[in-house]
């Protein structure tokens, strides 16, 4: 640092302690994961003074995209082999997710105009595993009619089901066709169109992106809305409903961090929080890092920054990051694909997700494909749980496996001024995570985030 920064003094500062950064803030955000960065961005746009810290020397926390050096370091895997290519050509996601083109994360990117810092490309193919085969999820009515997923009569029923879903509007009773989706379960809805269980499975898992079969017994509305999002997203950009930021998902938190910074936020990477400071009412009032301390009205962070008693475990997710020197076999030689293996197909409750992204999206050197297999753990042998996914990949050059415990906060944070996000879920997209983000935003600010975006307001003002 070239400037001798003038150290301020504060009467609350204990003897021997120095102020951390500017000393006094409205909010201290711990961790630079996507959720934390969105919150810090939104708060500083509203004029709050924000300090955001991360113990790592990179942005993104659990959802970072790492270069080779950081990836090998994280997995204690030694030095990356030179044959893989240049370090900076790699941006390997730690959490594999894709963005629904017309989903809530997209709305949030548009709402905040963070789209200005990012470029997106669509994912080429969306596939589903059925009876040992990888089949394309139909993208058009024509494809649906040719698809080996269903028999001839089933295809017609599938088509009328999709037509119903397309025109369904919960504010217009004339679109209901006598079906009350707030009462009728998803299973009943399928059955009312005469669809067979095989088709339920493929629609629910590969299109509505349900992780298990719990939704079948619940009111159909939520699942129908997810199908609508899938269909709108698909019609938006072509061959799959997913888009993905060039250079990896890590660009998302980075983009929101810039939003925060241009509105005055302070950033400290490579800086851990040693202790959260509370007042005698048990409310968080600041943090300590080394011999420095900063105060704030409240604290936000991911579960890893808080004491064990403030969070509870919700499950475990296994994720295998694999380097391949070829595209995933049987997917039309496409570089970027998602394959969903519905749990019931392989005697599991939870689906297994496989996705592959490569140099066209600037996440790897040319000729190297990054495939990630993930699923919610049902037993305690991580390697066993991912076998059906790994089996689809062909030859694997290098594999990194991690098992992450997911956490959620035990309270809403209003009593202790510790607003904690939940860990990223096991799904292959961000829709559930955005729900958590919106809830976090509401807990912090007491307001709902206005997500109504008018497409016309997206001017090219850069």
């Amino acid at each position: 640092m070239s400037e001798e920064e003038e150290k301020k003094t504060f009467d609350w500062l204990p003897e021997g302690m120095e102020p951390l950064a500017d000393g006094e803030y409205d909010a201290i955000i711990m961790g630079t994961g996507l959720k934390e960065c969105v919150i810090s961005g939104l708060l500083s746009v509203q004029g709050m003074r924000v300090l955001q810290m991360d113990r790592n020397n990179y942005y993104g926390a659990d959802c970072a995209s790492l270069n080779l050096t950081n990836l090998y370091k994280k997995f204690n895997a030694g030095t990356p082999p030179e044959t893989l290519g240049a370090n900076r050509d790699f941006n390997v996601d730690l959490i594999p997710k894709l963005i629904m083109a017309c989903g809530n994360l997209t709305k949030m990117l548009l709402h905040t105009k963070v789209t200005r810092y990012l470029e997106f490309k669509s994912i080429e193919g969306s596939y589903v595993y059925k009876a040992g085969k990888i089949l394309k999820v139909p993208a058009t009515p024509e494809e649906a009619l040719r698809s080996p997923l269903m028999g001839l009569f089933e295809k017609r029923r599938f088509r009328s089901f999709l037509l119903f879903v397309d025109q369904y509007d919960e504010t217009k009773p004339e679109t209901f066709q006598g079906k009350d989706l707030t009462v009728m379960t998803m299973r009943q809805l399928y059955e009312s169109f005469g669809l067979v269980p095989d088709t339920h499975e493929f629609i629910s898992h590969a299109m509505c992106l349900q992780l298990n079969d719990v939704h079948l017994g619940q009111p159909a509305l939520a699942t129908v809305k997810e199908l609508q999002t899938y269909c709108y997203s698909l019609s938006r950009y072509g061959t799959s409903p997913y888009i993905y930021p060039v250079y990896g998902l890590g660009g998302l938190p980075e983009g929101f961090s810039r939003l925060c910074a241009i509105h005055g936020g302070t950033f400290m990477l490579n800086r851990d929080v040693d202790e959260i400071i509370y007042n005698d009412k048990g409310e968080a009032i600041g943090v300590k890092s080394g011999n420095e301390m900063a105060r704030a009205k409240f604290i936000v962070g991911d579960p890893s920054y808080f004491p064990k008693e403030k969070v509870r475990a919700t499950g475990q997710i296994v994720r295998c990051i694999c380097f391949l020197n070829h595209p995933i076999p049987n997917c039309g030689d496409l570089e970027s694909v998602q394959i969903i293996i519905p749990g019931p197909q392989v005697n599991r409750k939870n689906d297994i997700f496989v996705c592959s992204i490569a140099s066209a999206h600037n996440v790897s050197a040319k000729g190297i494909y990054i495939a990630i297999v993930s699923t919610k753990m049902e037993g305690n042998e991580a390697d066993k749980e991912v076998i059906p996914g790994l089996a689809l990949l062909g030859h694997i050059m290098q594999r990194f496996t991690m098992v992450a415990t997911t956490y959620e906060p035990v309270s809403d944070g209003n009593d202790d001024k510790c607003y904690i996000s939940s860990s990223f879920d096991a799904s292959s997209h961000f829709e559930g995570d955005v729900e958590d983000l919106l809830s976090l935003y509401k807990r912090v600010t007491g307001k709902d985030l206005d997500m109504n975006i008018n497409a016309d307001s997206v001017e090219a003002d850069y």
């Binding site: 640092m1 070239s2 400037e3 920064e5 950064a21 990179y58 942005y59 900076r88 017309c102 997209t106 709305k107 990117l109 548009l110 105009k113 789209t115 200005r116 810092y117 990012l118 470029e119 997106f120 490309k121 139909p138 993208a139 058009t140 649906a144 999709l162 037509l163 879903v165 397309d166 609508q228 269909c231 709108y232 698909l234 019609s235 938006r236 950009y237 888009i243 060039v246 250079y247 890590g250 660009g251 980075e254 983009g255 961090s257 810039r258 910074a261 241009i262 509105h263 005055g264 936020g265 302070t266 950033f267 990477l269 490579n270 800086r271 975006i453 497409a455 997206v458 090219a460 850069y462």
Partner: protein, 197 residues
């Protein structure tokens, strides 16, 4: 004026409070008046330089304070065709800082990024030489060694500011100009036009 417009991303680097923003504001405001307060809330600023054979349009990214604790994101460096690394000629630490920013950029940025090392002159020429702590020749020698441009500028009386950007514009390989946007911008689909598969 040529009809060919080349777009380039230019990033600012350098330690806190050496005059990075002032430099850009001087450059951009000299010709454009409609911009808002640039220090707060500006995603990036744009300005053009007309050359004989082409018009160069700069998309200028300011550090927005993320350099203070060396917390610039990789996104910042990515795709930058040019970088201006600023130091304060009265502050030798900022010159040492500038050298480390050159290294950081070479590590993170594209290999053919055009780098300009800029000694910012704050205050008036008259009292300047007495306060100067970074020798012009020394900085020049360092720049030459590293194959980068070097200039001293004053945002206060606009000395050399425009010349700096013209010099950078001339050095940019126009043939390798960046497309304005390679991938598509994302937009929401209107509900009325929705069309299910």
């Amino acid at each position: 004026m040529s009809s060919r417009v080349c777009h380039f991303k230019l990033v600012l680097l350098g330690d806190t409070a050496v005059g990075k923003s002032c430099l850009v504001v001087r450059f951009v405001r000299d010709e454009f008046f409609e911009f808002q307060e640039p220090t707060i809330g500006a995603a990036f600023l744009t300005q053009t330089v007309a050359l004989d054979d082409a018009t160069v349009k700069f998309e200028i990214w300011d550090t927005a304070g993320q350099e203070r604790y060396r917390s610039l994101a990789p996104m910042y460096y990515r795709g930058a065709a040019a970088a201006i690394i600023v130091y304060d000629i009265t502050n030798p630490d900022s010159f040492a800082g500038a050298k480390s920013w050159v290294k950081e950029l070479q590590r993170r940025g594209d290999t053919n990024v055009v780098i300009a090392l800029v000694g910012a002159i704050a205050g008036n020429k008259a009292d300047l030489e007495s306060r100067r702590k970074v020798d012009f020749e020394e900085a020049n020698a360092y720049a030459e060694e590293n194959g980068i441009l070097h200039m001293e500028t004053s945002a206060k009386n606009s000395n050399n500011v425009r010349a700096l950007f013209v010099e950078i514009a001339k050095s940019l390989p126009k043939a390798l100009q960046q497309p304005e946007r390679e991938a598509f911008p994302i937009v929401m689909q209107k509900q009325e036009t929705r069309n299910c598969c």
